[in-house]
């Protein structure tokens, strides 16, 4: 006999979907466009690619590691979206782009994103396949490989997005020592302090995941982020009520585990 489980979780998911429908309806039908908070890290993309163009040196983008079947794949996808933007800008400015790829299964995706970006700028012949560097799949081997790339190719800008561990700090320090303008984006809570300390620009946590929507300004994307915000306010309300009730001696946690 089939029956539902994890009902509270399902209800919350359904609630987000309901918010999504409402916000989408508001944006497309009622033309209510919410104002997007600016993310400084995002505005820096132009500056980062522009600097490399001016100096006539390449941009190095490390796209992170992470299996596509792992539950943290959202980070990897957000990294791919930013990579697409960087590739497009590089193609437009005729700036060389070196890509350090951390996980083998990303290679096909990265290559097609780059092909697509270069094609849309009519610069497909500029794309050099030897610039897709597979860095070996682990933190240490990617450190080793990227140190060497920084020494040998002398990039002017260094972008580090996606799934990282402790190497986020290492790469930032190495990038700074090599005189690069750097941007990082990650969702790994361990690494936030280093993201802030070792890089010139950063996108951390949800900021990074919301980037794609902030770039595109596409109604379905914006509606999605807006729905998330509404849900956030609801959650804050729930926390306030729950905490006060708990102080008064009523614990509502039992009702949240069905």
């Amino acid at each position: 006999m089939a029956y539902l489980k994890n009902i509270v979780g399902l209800a919350l998911l359904a609630l987000i979907m309901v918010f999504y429908v409402i916000t989408y309806w508001l944006i497309t039908r009622k033309k209510v466009m919410p104002k997007f908070r600016t993310l400084p890290g995002l505005l820096a993309l132009d500056e980062i690619v522009g600097r490399a163009t001016e100096m006539g040196r390449p941009v190095l983008h490390s796209t992170g590691r992470g299996a596509l079947y792992s539950s943290g794949v959202g980070t990897t996808l957000a990294s791919f979206v930013i990579y697409g933007e960087v590739a497009r800008r590089c193609a437009k400015m005729k700036t060389e782009l070196i890509t350090a790829i951390g996980t083998a299964e990303h290679i096909p995706i990265i290559q097609s994103i780059a092909e697509n970006a270069y094609r849309s700028e009519n610069a497909l012949e500029e794309l050099k396949y030897e610039n897709f560097v597979f860095v070996g799949g682990s933190q240490s081997s990617s450190n080793a490989r990227i140190f060497a790339l920084l020494e040998q190719r002398k990039p002017a800008s260094f972008i580090v997005t996606g799934g990282y561990g402790a190497d986020l700090c290492t790469l930032g320090g190495a990038g700074r020592a090599a005189g690069c303008l750097s941007l990082c984006g990650t969702t790994n809570t361990y690494q936030y302090p280093y993201a802030v300390a070792a890089y010139d620009y950063w996108l951390i946590g949800e900021d990074f995941l919301a980037t794609a929507a902030a770039i595109s300004k596409d109604p379905p994307q914006v509606a999605n982020i807006w729905a998330g915000d509404l849900f956030r306010f609801l959650l804050v309300g729930l926390i306030v009520i729950g905490v006060v009730l708990a102080w008064l001696g009523f614990n509502i946690s039992e009702y949240l585990t069905i």
Binding site: Y69, S70, S71, S138, Q139, S140, A177, Y190
Partner: protein, 284 residues
């Protein structure tokens, strides 16, 4: 002014700072002072939980420290496993080692680092298949964790040494995580353990974690009651070595740890003094 610039140049010089640090660490490692230590409350609680285990407890021990992080994880596991082994025989405690990780699993560490240091389980009178077993490595993130939790035989048919798991006497009647009494994790993915093994089956979890993981991965779960107790890093390993009265590498590395902390704090303070001086001279 000249001097300020020179100090700043020296302290931001990669070779100087990194070389200096390596030399500063080598000295105390080669000649540790062996200063007394203060045992942390978490270590005492952890010790008491293991010490007071009920007879017949079945422990699921997820042992999968990644190679790069073993410096912080392996030293703690050595005294803890030693403690478990030394009480296992008389209390009939059964230990099931398994290694669930996302992609890279290095099971050799249990043999080389742990058994190489404290001796094989057989030396403690434990018999393979009856008192302890090693179910081997399972790859695959969230899905692997939840499959294993629901039905062990769906994700594992053979143990690490190639025996069918049904041939192990201690696996009889053990079908899912619900059949264990205690979960210990020594590895990176504490969140996964809580999410798939602990919370759904309401099992107590003990965690051996990275010091750096405490704040974000362990404390929130510990405060919410989803993790029962934790040990963190080499610091806790030294405590535990003291508690089980078996001094090892962790105690010997404490001086180096002190030095590295003091070095970094000094760098930060000097950096800030230089910054204040720069600003002061800039205002003139």
């Amino acid at each position: 002014m000249e001097m300020q610039e020179q100090i700043k140049k020296l302290l931001t010089n990669k070779t100087f700072v990194q070389g200096m640090l390596i030399i500063l660490l080598i000295i105390p490692l080669a000649r540790p002072l062996g200063l007394p230590i203060r045992i942390d409350q978490h270590s005492i609680n952890f010790y008491n939980i293991i010490e007071n285990l009920e007879p017949g407890t079945k422990i699921l021990f997820n042992y999968i420290p990644p190679v790069v992080l073993m410096g912080d994880l392996v030293p703690q596991s050595i005294p803890v496993i030693y403690h478990l082994f030394s009480i296992a025989k008389e209390r009939n405690i059964k230990i099931y080692f398994v290694g669930l990780s996302v992609a890279d699993g290095i099971l050799q560490l249990l043999d080389t680092e742990v058994f190489g240091t404290i001796g094989k389980p057989e030396d403690y009178g434990l018999k393979y298949g009856e008192d302890w077993c090693n179910l081997g490595f399972v790859a695959g993130g969230d899905i692997a964790w939840s499959t294993f939790a629901q039905n062990i035989r769906a994700s594992i048919q053979y143990d690490r040494y190639g025996n069918p798991i049904d041939s192990l006497p201690m696996m009889q009647g053990v079908n899912s995580v619900a059949d264990f009494d205690l979960i210990i994790n020594c590895g990176e993915y504490n969140t996964m353990i809580v999410r798939h093994w602990g919370t759904p089956y309401n099992k107590p979890i003990l965690v051996l974690c990275l010091t750096g993981a405490v704040v974000q991965d362990v404390e929130p779960f510990y405060r919410a009651g989803q993790i029962k107790e934790y040990l963190a890093g080499v610091r806790a390993a030294a405590d535990y070595e003291k508690l089980v009265n078996r001094p090892g590498r962790a105690i010997a590395s404490l001086d180096a740890i002190s030095i590295s902390h003091i070095f970094l704090i000094a760098l930060i303070i000097i950096g800030n003094i230089l910054y204040v001086m720069e600003r002061a001279s800039g205002r003139e």
